[in-house]
Each structure stands twice: as C-alpha cells, then as structure tokens.
Amino acid sequence: MDIFEYISLIFTDYTIRNISLGTGALGAICGVLGSFAVLRKESLLGDAISHAALPGIVLAFMITQAKDNYVLLIGAIISGLIGTLLISGIVTNTRLKKDAALGIVLSVFFGFGMLLLTFIQKNPDATQAGLDKYLFGQAATLMENDVKLLSIVLGLSLLVLLMFWKELKVALFDSDYAKSIGIKTRFLDSLISFFIVLAIVLGLQTVGVVLMSAMLLAPAAAARQWTNRLYVMLIIAAILGVISGVVGTAVSTTYNNLSTGPVIVVIAILIVIISFLFSPKRGLLMRQILFIRSRKKIEQTKVLLLMYNIAKTHDDVGHPHSNKILNNFQGIGKNVLKSLENQGWIKVNEGMWLMTEKGFNYAEELNKGITL
C-alpha cells in the first residue's frame, strides 16, 4: 500500500479513519498537557504514571471480571492518581529527590501489578487483560468509541485551560506570587495532574507503557524551541502532536509489520531533533552561526585596532603600510582585510594597506570604548 492509497483510505476505510483520528486526537491532548508537564519540570511523570497504572488495570479486572475497556480505564486512573500522590508525598515528607520518588513509584507499582497479573493468568476461564496491548500499545484496536472519548477529553482539557488560563499561567511561572495573590495553586496543580494522568492512561492502549513518556513530552519539548509564549507553545505542541500521531499511523500502516506506537514516537523525536537544530532563536545551528559571526567580529576589531595604533603614529592617517607589518605581529588572514575593506574602513592595494578617514574615526571610537 502506498501513501496515496492510504490517504484515500482515510476517507473511505472505517478502521483506518478511526485509528488516524484517534492517534491525532491523542497527539493533540499529549501536546497540550505535556507542555505543562515539561514546564513544571515533571517530564518523567509520564513514565512513572504509565507504569503505575498497571495494578489499577489488573485490580479493576479482578474485581469486576469485566472486559469493558472503561472499567479498566477507571482502575488505571485511580492507581495513576495514587501514584502521583505518593510521589509528591515522598518529595515533601522526606529528603528523597523527585527522581528517586518517580523511580520508586514506577518500579514498585509495576512490580505489584505483575504480581497481581499472575493471579489472572492462573484463572483458566478468564481471558488475560492483555498485558501485551498495555506494554506496547495497539493503535489498531482504536474504536469509534475510543475516538469519541479522546475528543471529549481533548475538549474538556481545552475548556479547563480556557477557564483557568490566567491563574494557570501565573501558578506555572511564579507559584509564590500566585499564592500571595490568593490563587489556589494546590487546586490548579491537582487539576493539571489529573488531566495529565488522564492523558497518559488514554495513551497507554495506543503507544504502550514504555513509549508514553515520549508521547507526552516530545511535542512539548519541540514546541518550546520555537516560542517563548505559553499559548503559542501549547498550539505548536498540539499541532506537532497531531502530526506525529497521524504521520506515524500513516507510515506504520503503509509498511506492514510496523507497530504504530514506536513509529509515532520516532516521528515525534525526529521533530524534536529538527527543532533542536533549526529553531531560529535557540537552535544549535543558529547558535553555531552566531558563534562564528562573533568570532569573526572580534578578529576584525583586533586587526582594526592594530592598524589604528600604527596609523596614529603618522601625521597622515592614510599613509600606506605593507601588509607584512601586520603579519609580524600575528597571522592575519586575507578574509579579514577584505571584510574590513568592504566596510570602507581600509583600502588594500598590492600588498599595502592604508586607513581611510572613516576607518580611523571608527577605530578611535572603539579604542576609547576599550580603554575606558
């Protein structure tokens, strides 16, 4: 199946449409809520919570014996929330740092879930809750109802963001100030945490437990490179999330045998790499260009001042000197002389250079600035 066939299938094929819509919606949710996780320095919360959801899923299955997806989701949410509470409990009550708290919750909850899972697996007439699907995700199982649920959650989280936008922003960037003007930061924190847990749990069945953390933070980390404004970041993150989801699904369906979750994550990470390299203000490429430019500038200034010091010992500023004089002091490239000539500060002629009036005045100013 090639890519054009795929695009036509999005409009005609029921399953493929559901999967694309579902992964797209998931990408948008993750982009928006992930931005908050990244800015709150809780990037790895996704990793911890996705693991912490396992015992909830298994317990929900054991108690209800229902294969109903929603019951398992509620179990996952409850155990994810307990995990978040425990993480903040450990951080506030002990001297353990956040990394240790996340690691403890992640591994212990997951191990406990595995322990519970063996009881289900032993029970002969109960089908397994699908550990595989949970570990690696299966976008192919996205149904129309799942798409609806994802859209509702997306709408709900956008609504909440709009309602508390100003408060959230203040609490995010200056929580002490927010507290002092009477904003209930604790309530807002719990609200956002709740929605992050919700996003993670919904993402589990699509991309799986291991890759959920990347799904949550990659679009946000990429978006952060392109802007310093919160709402712009959220919008870009949402768009990048949708692109990763939809393109990832397209690639994995076009090439048979590829599981969707890993492909989505690889696409998202590629977007992050592109953003790291090419973002106009913070990108590594731009940084390198600026670095080279400023090094060149420094070299130019150095040569110009050297010339100034030679030229000022003569009555006539424009007295020509051999280029070799400069070389006696230090190696000076032709490029530097050329760029100085281009600025109209000096004139170069057959191995000789002379300073123009303009260049002399400029150098005098520079020299003043330096000796001051």
Partner: protein
C-alpha cells in the same frame, strides 16, 4: 529447599547486592532515573548484537547492550549541555527513541526469530537455573550466577579501590576537582559499571526489577542514615532481604517472582517511609505539630511580655486568649500546659504571668527576631526545635 530454588535465591541475591551498591550512588547523585533509561534502551543494543552474531546467547549481545547503555548516558548529557530542555526531559526523550528504534528493527528484520520483548522487560527468574554453565561436561551451576558473580566482583573491587573518590565526587564535585580527582572520570566509570550491571541483571530478572533493585533499597537506606558506609550496608541488606522474602512470597502464592520481590521492596520502603525516626512521614508530622505548638507558645509569651504589670490584667485572663488568638479552649489549655511544663508561665487565679525564665526567653527571642543572629539563641536550640532550622 531443592537445588533450583536455592540457585534462584543466589542469583536474586547477587543481583540485589550489585544493584543496591550502585543504587546508593545513583540516588545520592540524583540520577536514579538514568537506570530506568538504560534498562530500556539496551534493547537496541541486544537487537544490534543479534543482527551481527545471529546468536541470542552470544556475549557480543551483552557488550553491545552495555555500549548502548553508555550511549544513552552520553546522549542525555549532550542534550542537557545544550540547555535546550531541562535535564529530566532529556532522559525522557532519549530512551524511548532508542527503545522505539529497537522495536522497529525487530519487527522489520527479525520477525521470524524469537526475540521476546516481554521477556526482556519482565524477565523470568524461574528460568535462571536451566541455563547451565558447563565446562568439559562438568556442570558449574547456572550461567547467571557466574555472570552476576563476576559483575558483583568488579563492583566490589572498584568500590574498595575508589571509595574515597566516589565519596568526594558524589558530595562535593568542586572539592574533588581541587583535590585532583576528576569528577567526570568517576562519573563515566560509575555509568559504565551501572550499564554493565543493568545488562547483566536484566537478563535474569527483567528491566523493571533491575530498576526497583537499584532505586528502592538505596532510597530506603537514605531515609534512616546520614553515613555513606551505613547507607551501603543497609541498602544491600534491604535488597537481599527483599529478594529472599520475595522469592518465598512468590512460592507460597504461586506468583511472579519478580513481581513479588518488587512488592516486598515496596512494602519495606513504605514501612520505613512511615516510621523512619528523622526523615519519615510520622516523625515529620509530629515535628510539624511540635513546631506549630512552639510557635503558638512563643506568640503567647510575646503577648504577655508586652503587657504592663497590673494595669492590663484583663489581657492576662485565660478567656482572653480565646478571643485574642482565636484559640479553642482545648488548644489554649494544651499550650498553657506546654508553657507551664517548660517553666515559662505561672497561672494565678485565672491570670497568666511570665516567670523569670519566660521573661528571659521572650527577651532573647525578640533579640533574635530583631537582629536575626544565631548566637543569641545557642542555648535554646536544644530545648526548642523551632530555632533549629
């Protein structure tokens, strides 16, 4: 106890000891989640190693896995250095990327072979005794005992050789650089050994249990001691106890061994978290309560101190406290009792007076509040926690 049972416990204990030692340094350096990242990304190393050797038991796999483990650390640090994202974001980007590439490589190239990702992640300790190390028809026991034993030997030897260096670089990298110990060298040494340990251990117990054995015992130990040597000993002890108790729990319940061991680790952590004498939840709670009481008592003393003798007696009435401070009767009584026990006040016919000690104390406290100098309150520190931190 039959032989395989004994062997499983030996393997688990070796893993627990190795992980517990490394965990102490990772937790102290606030890098514990790097173990989570390594334990996932080594999947890529195993896949690459398999493509080269086409043999799942080849030691090349372990070598590649360890290399990818170190690569994970290098990549994370490279991203951190660019300062484009916060450090934990760097971890969260690197390991899913490497893990995804690993899975995609498996599904495109190796779908016909049996490289079970579940087994990589979850591990199966129960199978450890079946993979024997046989030299010239002579059975030397399970392979994993030898592998983990070897790794543990490396760890213990390097721990003894570089104990001082590890200690200095962990607690004061600046000082270590001054002393001529390179923090970077020690850091990469530690990362390489962590990587090798995780690779060796996850084969036996799975990625998640490795992470649990690294982070949980060390964190538990950190709650009850301030001494690095003791922390190492406690951490190892917690690890081994959990491994053995976990094994028998799994045996009794007929359940997943790795799951049971993590559950025991978690239980021990929760227990210590609740009752740890200095850094626990309950001691924290009682500390907060005591501090609140002391603050209230101090307010009372300062209030009394500001009153003139005789003239303002209505302000000395116990009833006045209810209105003035909005204390309930019960609260007021407990604070009055607390202040009386400490000899700060005397109650005479429903009127409260400062004793000499109380007057001295409030004068000192005011002095401290005004000048904010520590030496004014040296003597009070022992008696009242309020002034300690």
């Amino acid at each position: 106890m039959i032989l395989p049972q004994f062997e499983i416990q030996i393997v688990a204990s070796l893993v627990a000891i190795a992980c517990a030692i490394i965990g102490v340094f990772l937790v102290l350096r606030k890098m514990s989640l790097i173990s989570d990242a390594i334990s996932h990304s080594i999947l890529l190393g195993i896949v690459l190693g398999f493509f080269i050797t086409h043999d799942l038991n080849s030691p090349v796999l372990i070598l590649f896995a360890a290399l990818v483990g170190v690569l994970t650390v290098v990549l994370v640090e490279f991203i951190q250095k660019t300062k484009l994202v916060k450090e934990d974001t760097a971890i969260g980007l690197v390991f899913p990327a490497l893990f995804s590439i690993g899975i995609i490589l498996i599904s495109t190239n190796a779908s016909d072979i049996h490289l079970d990702i579940d087994a990589v992640l979850l591990g199966e300790l129960a199978f450890a005794p079946f993979d024997r190390f046989i030299v010239m028809d002579y059975d030397l026991g399970p392979k994993s005992v030898w592998i983990m034993g070897g790794i543990l030997l490396i760890i213990v030897v390097s721990l003894f050789l570089f104990y001082k260096e590890l200690k200095v670089t962990t607690f004061d990298p600046g000082l270590s650089a001054v002393l001529g110990i390179s923090p970077i060298l020690i850091h990469y040494g530690l990362m390489s050994i962590s990587s090798i340990t995780i690779v060796g251990a996850f084969d036996a117990v799975g990625a998640i249990l490795v992470v649990a054995f690294i982070i949980v015992p060390a964190s538990t130990a950190y709650l009850i001691t301030d001494n690095l040597r003791k922390m190492l000993i406690y951490s190892v002890a917690f690890g081994v106890i959990s491994a053995i108790l976990g094994y028998w729990l799994a045996f009794i319940l007929d359940a997943s061994i790795a799951g049971a061991m993590t559950a025991v680790l978690g239980l021990i952590f929760i227990l210590v978290y609740l009752i740890a004498p200095k850094h626990g939840f309950l001691s924290n709670l009682s500390l907060q309560k005591r501090q609140a009481k002391e603050v209230k008592m101090l307010t009372l003393l300062l209030h009394l101190n500001s009153l003139n003798d005789g003239i303002e007696n209505e302000e000395r009435e116990i009833k006045h406290l209810y209105r003035h401070f909005r204390w309930t009767k019960k609260q007021a009584n407990s604070i009055l009792k607390f202040a009386e026990e400490n000899g700060m006040i005397e109650i005479d016919k429903e009127l409260i007076f400062l004793t000499n000690k109380g007057k001295e104390f409030s004068a000192k406290a005011i002095d401290y509040i005004i000048t904010n100098r520590d030496d004014k309150i040296e003597g009070m520190k022992n008696e009242f926690m309020l002034f300690r931190g």
